[in-house]
């Protein structure tokens, strides 16, 4: 059923439909509306869950680790500084193979303090072993939660998942969202069945230490499983499409890309602005298309290479920067296109909430057509 609703509330409703048994979260802007809405949902008995109001984000995710290990479906949400405080627990949750799902209302990291959007927070956890989904709009942000639980809890995956959607730009924006029913949600996402759990009837040890004789193999297994999860994502996304008409079987999505000479690669809400810009550029006769990346981890390297094999040039919009190197998406796209010789130019854009408009996307295209790029786009030189 279609509702006009705020992004955070749509996400909270999706989480309710996923029936987490333990929720543990700490408030931080711009994530607050999600956890407030969930607190109300639990207070009104619309969800039978334990809601742990922890004292910081490190404990929020730590409580999820305990609850997940004990056999419950768990949920948390955070952003920016909160995610940075969870850093240690993030690696731990993945290493312990606990299928926790966490929403990230993407926000910049300090210093300087910024409450506004970019994707530096979740990108900085790219090596932690979590699946990472990025939403373009609130419909996708909603749907990806069902998909994230389904994939994370699959016994051939068993890794935690981040569902990332841009702070304020999506989290605080009202959009029409088609919400599936509880009955449908239950059909798509069966009851959580832990692969193993803390249980007095069958004692096992979780989180032991590994000597150099074993550690390497643990990491290999995580990498192998994360790469293999592409197939699980594909199948679950396809099933979601069959059931509800929105197909998430592909980890990437092209927009007017088939005959494009210039491809823009982007993640998150910036894709919407880019699509509008492309429509206008197409009207002017420019053959520009978009490749949207919905799943950043595992990274769809082969899929990206195939989708971009015919273009003459690529401009990557990175709402993050690996300082001293490049944007994290551009690095992956370059890797994917390495043997093709197609030039990939990076544009660090929109950091700390700097607005990105259609004219900016057009300017990026003009630059990449001249062979320029690998820049911070839109720098205000006068304040440097």
């Amino acid at each position: 059923m279609m509702h006009i609703t705020e992004g955070s509330h749509a996400v909270a409703e999706a989480v309710r439909l996923c029936r987490p048994q333990v929720i543990s979260a700490y408030p931080i802007t711009p994530q607050t509306h999600i956890v407030e809405a969930l607190a109300e949902i639990v207070a009104d008995c619309q969800l039978d869950a334990e809601y742990i109001t922890v004292e910081n984000e490190l404990s929020a995710l730590s409580a999820c680790v305990g609850a997940s290990a004990a056999g419950s479906r768990t949920y948390s949400a955070t952003t920016s500084q909160g995610l940075a405080l969870m850093f240690e627990v993030c690696f731990n949750a993945a290493g312990m193979r606990l299928p926790i799902v966490m929403s990230i209302a993407n926000r910049a990291l300090g210093a300087p303090l910024s409450i506004w959007n970019d994707q530096q927070d979740s990108i900085s956890l790219r090596d932690s072993g979590w699946l990472q989904f990025y939403a373009e709009d609130n419909q996708e942000a909603t749907d990806l939660h069902f998909l994230a639980y389904r994939v994370a809890e699959d016994h051939s995956v068993l890794l935690p998942a981040l569902v990332c959607f841009d702070g304020f730009i999506l989290s605080h924006t009202y959009e029409p969202v088609d919400m599936i029913t509880q009955e449908d949600a239950d059909r798509f996402l069966p009851k959580f069945s832990p692969y193993e759990r803390l249980d007095a009837a069958d004692p096992i040890s979780f989180g032991m230490y590994a000597t150099p004789d074993y550690y390497l193999e643990f990491r290999y297994e995580m990498d192998r499983v994360l790469k293999q999860s592409k197939e699980i994502i594909h199948n679950a996304g396809k099933e979601f499409g069959c059931m509800f008409g929105r197909d998430y079987s592909a980890m990437i999505e092209g927009y007017r890309l088939e005959d494009a000479d210039t491809a823009i690669v982007a993640m998150g809400s910036i894709c919407g602005t880019t699509k509008d810009s492309i429509d206008e550029m197409r009207d002017e006769g420019k053959k520009v298309g978009l490749l949207k990346i919905r799943v950043y981890r595992p990274f769809p390297t082969e899929e990206v290479a195939k989708a971009l094999s015919h273009v003459q040039r690529v401009a990557v919009l990175d709402k993050n920067i690996s300082l001293g190197a490049k944007g994290a998406v551009a690095l992956e796209v370059r890797d994917a296109l390495y043997s093709s010789g197609i030039p990939v130019k990076d544009f660090i854009i929109g950091l700390g909430g700097r607005d990105v408009r259609k004219k900016d996307i057009k300017a990026v295209v003009a630059l990449v057509e001249k062979g320029e790029g690998d820049i911070f786009y839109g720098l205000r030189r006068e304040v440097l």
Binding site: Q21, V22, S24, D48, A49, E50, I52, T53, V54, E55, N56, L58, S59, A60, S62, A63, C64, V65, G66, A67, S68, A69, A70, G71, S72, T74, E88, V89, N92, M96, L198, D199, A200, D202, P203, I204, S205, F206, G207, M208, Y209, A210, T211, Y214
Partner: protein, 298 residues
């Protein structure tokens, strides 16, 4: 009733001979019984008991990080509640994990009132990383980060009063005990586990390697700590001290002399003022908890 003949902390672990913490683990699991989930923080006990693929724990056990055992336990407790399960949640953490790095997680979990028992095995320094001082290290103890030297007598501060801090959080049951008194230890652990809410038991667990004594002296030294008043075994119910073990006190130097960490107080020259300062700590303990047995004059 819990069957205390069961060994739920198995032999074959890698603890030093004479390790007080290993004794604590054995006694705590005996008192807790099989219907228990143990949460460990990073530290000596975690490392010596679970080198993958071996484990000494015959109860379900989880280790996540150094600082977050109380938060992990909060999640487990919530999960069990939601599933309608009745296992008891017991945390086993060292003094560094408890007094220092885990303080925020502990404070949050106690304030929220989760039903678990937090056990701190207190060996008075970071032993796993090589004997560095913690907030539980006693006054004048020489550690690798509070070494005695030409212008230092070792650790400059007395122990943090962790039991009082947790009592102030509204913990219904707080107790201190010692591996030298197994019956007392197991009785207090059992009481804590059977008291609803977040309970705290702090176990004095001498470390032969870190304190500098022979492994066969562990129990004797733990007893001396009690007999000198430098460690007091007591119970607090709803924030009030209800019971403390009484002793005929010995001078503190009988305890200090047994351990290398206090050797600088006696060699090369005897430091009377420092020994007197430590005696004053014991005297304050004795007064505060009323532990002195008054000998009747014949």
């Amino acid at each position: 009733m819990v069957d205390k003949t069961l060994e739920l902390f198995d032999c074959g672990h890698r603890a030093c001979g004479g390790c007080g913490a290993a004794l604590a683990a054995r006694m705590v699991t005996k008192a807790a019984g099989t219907n228990t989930i143990v949460v460990s923080s990073t530290g000596c006990m975690e490392v010596f008991s679970t080198p993958y693929p071996e484990t000494a724990w015959k109860v379900p056990w989880i280790h996540s990080l150094f600082e977050n055992a109380a938060a992990v336990a909060s999640g487990i407790e919530a999960s069990l509640k939601k599933q309608g399960r009745n296992e008891k949640v017991v945390i086993m953490a060292g003094d560094g994990a408890t007094f220092d790095i885990g303080m925020i997680c502990i404070s949050g979990a106690f304030e929220r009132g989760h039903d678990f028992t937090y056990i701190c095995y207190d060996n008075e320094a970071y032993m796993n990383t090589g004997i560095q001082r913690s907030g539980a290290t006693p006054y004048d103890a020489s550690t690798t980060t509070s070494p005695a030297g030409k212008c230092s007598f070792g650790n400059k501060r007395p122990k943090k009063d962790m039991p009082q801090i947790l009592a102030a959080h509204g913990s219904p049951y707080v107790a201190t005990t010692s591996i030298a008194y197994p019956a007392d230890l197991m009785q207090k652990v059992e009481k804590a586990i059977n008291t609803r809410g977040p309970c705290y038991v702090q176990i004095h667990a001498p470390c032969c390697t870190g304190w500098g004594f022979e492994g066969e002296q562990t129990i004797a030294i733990a007893k001396l700590a009690i007999e000198t008043g430098l460690w007091v075994n007591y119970e607090m119910v709803e924030g009030k001290v209800v019971k403390a073990k009484k002793v005929v006190r010995k001078p503190v130097e009988e305890y200090l002399k047994t351990q290398k960490r206090f050797r600088h107080l006696f060699k090369p020259t005897r430091q009377d003022a420092e020994i007197a300062a430590i005696q004053a700590i014991a005297d304050r303990n004795a007064e505060k908890y009323g532990i002195d047995i008054k000998l009747r004059k014949e």
